[in-house]
Symmetry: C2
Subunit: 355 residues, 2 copies
């Protein structure tokens, strides 16, 4: 068995294997992160849909059971100004679905909640000292980022283009996640909105590796040992894997989502903005087909999700994922379908055997 | 220096290095194919825009100068029924450009010419016995394909999805080119038109390798030795490289195209149908921005190109590529920018050194 070719990333992240379990807000769990940590990878806790108390509890549970460092992940979007006209038009466009599900289309819709990294979470980081803090959608404003860095935490963020990777290097990241077009969930894009020009992992990783001096973490389309070996060959120092962890029993995945994942094919996903207002890759379902995949009507992130909540709740109660974000990358079918710890160990061992 | 891990593909193709110079109709040349062949790779002659006589001449020139086998490449689309209303609407949508360039917008536009593989070309194959015959857009009808196979030629074709790869295996291909989303030029798609669901190379190659028992040739985003090593790690037996060969002095590339290639970034291309009616990846230019990238107005392949010809000719005469198909994959910036022989040798040597 070989050795990981880049020891410095292992030191930077404080792990034995250069495998990061992707933080998947709403889908990953403390149990998953703990299992990954025990297997030598980097366990991640996604905080974008947690209250401060929930985040504290998750971190405490991780610290109690996990031997390794933690990656605390935050979104750093700017919450949009309310736009009642846009929201009303979006809500109205969903009217037929409300009627179909026996819901009152004229009741005020609920509000979608994704909390960006803020003063409160920054204080959490200062108090709890996670070893790794990762961001999605760029980086927080400098005064907050400076406070995070002052704790000694290593800072990661995602780049979907070379320009974003260079920006992250210039603005204080310690490593860049090169997130290829194949990746599931929200695109990390923050300097571009052109989804038609997003580079695939195969093209992105070496171009990012050439453009920055930071370590590059490849993400997108990696679900087995072949992908890890290929990512390292392209110039990555480590990988971040999401979709393969959705198959784990530790994942918080609805029955409809799990069923769709089990049946996933290479051409079964698209990038859509209809669930949250920001582009994200998911398994093609009814709402994406009928209202998307990219709709000019979708209100700004994260507010688009509000009027979908009653539909999603009602449909999911019947085991139907027509209005749910069934996030998945393009390589779901490669996933080994094991518990998170076994998966991490298998990926690491098989990759090492090929290096 | 290592050895190529899969010797059987070298035997199948009759080459020393598992590198195929992509046939690039209108852009690759006999000189390029000869240089690649001399360097141990597979030289390809694209016939889609050649008359029978031109194809014969190209093949004769290749046979005179090249030591290795030849890959004769054909499109196998079905020529569309003429649709004057659609063509008139498309022509009319270009009216402002015609006026801007001092062209008569009411003159009947020229016809675009891409000849599919037919009786005539099949006879050429039977007479000239190319070692490899490759197709784009699926495979020709069975009675023609049978005749090609009866010559002993090995048959290749491109798959942009797992389903297409399986179809090619079932219908008589000897190897499958897994053409990822990153690839430049026309998508090989023939069972799907959903460009938003096309998998990236990183996700496609291993899923195709798992689904078929044929050798897999990876294409899309490969422009340096890192890409070759990664493609083999993902399960490919060989690679097909296009864009990197456009930088060669042997390429037939306009000044505008070359300039755009030199300046290419990872996010500088999109898949567009405005140039020919079929989706293809090219460097974003004015027509793509203003009429595309995917236009419902574009007439069926290859007829969309007809009304563009006068604009293209006039603009190119001024060094402007606004109406030209500036084909490129997403990894143009990685291209070593060497003559075709040196490029092939460098790619092979550097990849072998990493294996």
């Amino acid at each position: 068995m070989g050795q990981w070719p880049d020891r410095s990333i292992l030191k930077l992240l404080g792990v034995e294997a250069p495998i990061i379990q992707a933080p998947m807000s709403g889908f990953s769990t403390v149990e998953m992160a703990v299992a990954v940590s025990r297997a030598g990878g980097l366990g991640s806790l996604a905080c974008a849909q947690l209250t401060l108390e929930q985040a504290k509890d998750a971190l405490a549970a991780f610290r109690r059971d996990a031997p390794g460092p933690v990656n605390l992940n935050f979104f750093c979007h700017r919450p949009p100004q309310p736009n009642p006209a846009v929201m009303a038009a979006w809500h109205k466009s969903l009217r037929a679905y409300y009627l179909e599900y026996g819901l009152d289309p004229d009741a005020p819709p609920p509000t979608a909640n994704r909390i960006p990294f803020d003063e409160t979470f920054c204080a959490l980081v200062e108090n709890e000292r996670p070893e790794i803090v990762s961001f999605h959608f760029g980086l927080p404003e400098p005064r907050l980022l400076d406070r995070v860095r002052a704790t000694g935490a290593k800072v990661l963020s995602s780049a979907t283009t070379v320009a974003e990777a260079v920006w992250l290097e210039q603005h204080g990241a310690d490593a860049v996640i090169a997130m290829g077009y194949e990746a599931g969930g929200h695109r990390g894009s923050f300097l571009t909105t052109d989804m038609a020009a997003q580079p695939g992992t195969f093209a992105l990783v070496p171009q990012v590796a050439d453009a920055v001096s930071l370590p590059v973490i490849a993400a997108g389309g990696i679900a087995d040992a072949r992908g890890i070996v290929a990512a390292l060959a392209l110039g990555a120092a480590a990988v971040q894997i999401g979709t393969a962890y959705l198959f784990c029993p530790e994942a918080r995945v609805t029955a409809a989502h799990r069923k769709a994942l089990e049946a996933a094919t290479d051409e079964g996903t698209q990038i859509t903005n209809v669930f949250t207002g920001r582009p994200a890759r998911g398994l093609i379902n009814r709402l994406m087909r009928e209202a998307g995949p990219l709709s000019p009507l979708a209100p700004a992130f994260p507010t688009a999700g509000g009027p979908l909540l009653p539909l999603k709740t009602k449909a999911e109660a019947g085991g139907v994922g027509d209005f749910s974000s069934l996030w998945s990358g393009q390589a779901a079918a490669l996933s080994p379908r094991l518990p998170a710890g076994e998966l991490t160990r298998k990926l690491a061992e098989e990759a090492l055997a090929k290096i």
